[in-house]
Amino acid sequence: MTEPAKPIIQIQNVTKRFGRVAAVDNVSLDILAGEFFVLLGPSGCGKTTLLRMIAGFELPTEGTILIDGQDMAGIPPNKRPVNMVFQSYAVFPHMSVADNVAYGLKIAGVKGGEVKARVAEALDLVKLGGFEDRMPDQMSGGQRQRVALARSLIMRPKVLLLDEPLSALDAKLRAQMQFELAELQDQVGITFVTVTHDQDEALSMASRIAVINKGEVAQLAGPSDLYEYPANRFVADFVGSVNIFEGKLTLDEPDRAAVDCPGLGKVYLNHGVTGPHGADVWVALRPEKIYLHVPGEGKAVRAAAQDAPDGHNFARGCIKGMSYLGDITLYDILLESGARLRVSRPNLSRHDQEDFTWDDKVSMHWRADSPVVLLG
């Protein structure tokens, strides 16, 4: 896409209160035409409420929602140019697959011949060709979801809303559907807005992700930016796994910075952070960005010294727990400072020469571009 994408949904200062609780608190964001947008957050954060306000099932207490430039205030769900795939799929149990998919078209008064052709087309799109006469109770959860998808896509909406679309599927099918949904979105070119609490789902499918916390947007970014450059502790912690240490900013120049963390030690970064000197900050370090070494050989110290001053980006500890996950192994390490550190390590060969195990003493280092300094 070379042309600048225009916003298809504009959410402007939207607040939704249930009683005195603000489920959505002064949210403003633009969703661009043709993108796969994900609202990511823990349960109860207000992401589903936001989606339901776009669909028209909830009305904002304050603020405006525009779809394709048109104010949606006072427009009921059945008149909005969006369609929704429900978490429970909401496939009509008393109708065949074809009748389910044709439902919206028949309501819209589309003629029989065209309905038939478009139903066949929609079912082909979701790989359910030939299932026209099946009843929903003869289908698996994954198939019912495809029916729900076809039923919405046949309406050619400007935006397709998906509420936790994969949460009811088993792990294998979920992974497959992540790819299929992204592919489908690419194929039909409709804007998808998905709500999920699953960060893997969000990272794998989205073009952009809004992380929602307590009714507010905690960060809006693309998947890799969200993971590698989290804006605050909530995002760092919610998206992926992370070690967070409190510390004081001791050095902050355009091309380097340093943080003194009582828990982790001295942390050096090869870029500036533009935070107030001496301020309380937090350092986030992803488990997979920490290298483990057998102690006493000076390997860790030498490796750390390659891009950081002496005594920085280096720690010693003892393995207190590990869990073998097949592709990687997770280590829970007790640092000399008494703090805990999570480290993950890919199992690159079937029989690792440097097999670490319980109660082993280890030393660690990380690169100067790995830690992230968080101000909030």
Binding site: P77, N78, M155
Partner: protein, 301 residues
């Protein structure tokens, strides 16, 4: 496992169900059997009945007079059921979609009449509908007001108020039966609607259907088991209604239960009354059998 053990242990099963079985046998099956035998008997003297195995009682029951009363009972019961359905469906929907806070109170309102004796409720209704009742008094006041208003603007006053005959006719019977049976319709409808997945309704709205079409195409078909249950549970007791037509009906509004009562009491013709009773029971059996057969069809989850 525990459940299976319980089912497997015949002695436990017998001990638990024996009292009820005995009760049913003593006070339902045996009396019904006696009545059934009576229906094949003949009157010999005032208190003597001979079991002659005759079919005369049933032959007499198929005479036009009695068939027409059966027909009328069916018609009244069907009308009552239909009115209950038309009134009850929106009520059940309103309760289903009421807020958590209000729902128990609305349900209580529906069930409250059950806690009052039917006889008292019927007399209360009669007080309401009588020529000197509240309904007529209210109408009279309105009539008087309209008349006064006409003189005020210089028109002729209305003629003197004649009370409307609201009691002792077919209208009163239908009104009374609807009043009595409405809860029987609302509760199964509510049970069915409450089980309905709300997102199905939202999905229909989302796909462009309005509220009316959503109700007709999604809510009503999915509430069908509740509708059938409500219809049966209303129709069957309405068919055998005795008290309401007896107290509120006129001379031409007797239903089959009133005729049966007369055979056992005034006419002292127990065999004929028994035959009429069993024809009514067979009719109800057929209705229940029809419903059971319908249920065997493809189950809608």
């Amino acid at each position: 496992m525990a459940e299976q053990d319980w089912k497997a242990n015949k002695r436990v099963f017998a001990a638990v169900s024996l009292p009820t079985l005995l009760w049913t046998l003593l006070f339902f099956v045996i009396p019904m059997a006696i009545v059934w035998f009576y229906s094949f008997g003949e009157n010999k003297g005032l208190t003597e009945i001979e079991f002659s195995g005759t079919l005369d009682n049933y032959k007499r029951a198929t005479e036009f007079l009695y068939l027409s009363i059966f027909g009328k009972s069916f018609a009244v019961a069907a009308l009552v059921t239909l009115i209950c359905l038309i009134i009850g469906f929106p009520v059940a929907m309103a309760i289903t979609f009421a807020s958590e806070k209000w729902r128990p109170w609305l349900l209580l309102g529906i069930m409250l009449p059950f806690w009052t004796n039917l006889l008292i409720r019927t007399y209360a209704l009669m007080m309401l509908l009588g020529t000197q009742g509240f309904a007529n008094k209210g109408l009279e006041a309105l009539w008087g007001g309209a008349s006064w208003f006409r003189t005020l603007v210089g028109l002729q006053p209305l003629p003197t108020w004649e009370p409307v005959q609201l009691l002792f006719n077919n209208f009163a019977v239908v009104f009374g039966l609807v009043y009595v049976h409405l809860p029987f319709m609302v509760l199964p409808l509510y049970a069915a609607l409450d089980r309905l997945d709300r997102s199905l309704i939202e999905a229909s709205l989302d796909l462009g259907a309005g509220h009316f079409r959503t109700i007709m195409r999604i809510v009503v078909p999915l509430a069908a088991p509740g509708i059938v249950a409500g219809v049966m549970i209303t129709l069957i007791p309405a068919l055998g209604a005795y008290l309401t037509p007896d107290l509120m009906g006129g001379t031409d509004s007797q239903m089959i239960a009133n005729v049966i009562e007369r055979q056992f009491k005034k006419a002292n013709d127990w065999p004929f009354g028994a035959a009429l009773s069993f024809i009514l029971i067979y009719a109800m059996f057929i209705l229940i059998a029809l419903q059971a057969m319908r249920r065997k069809g493809p189950e809608v989850r």
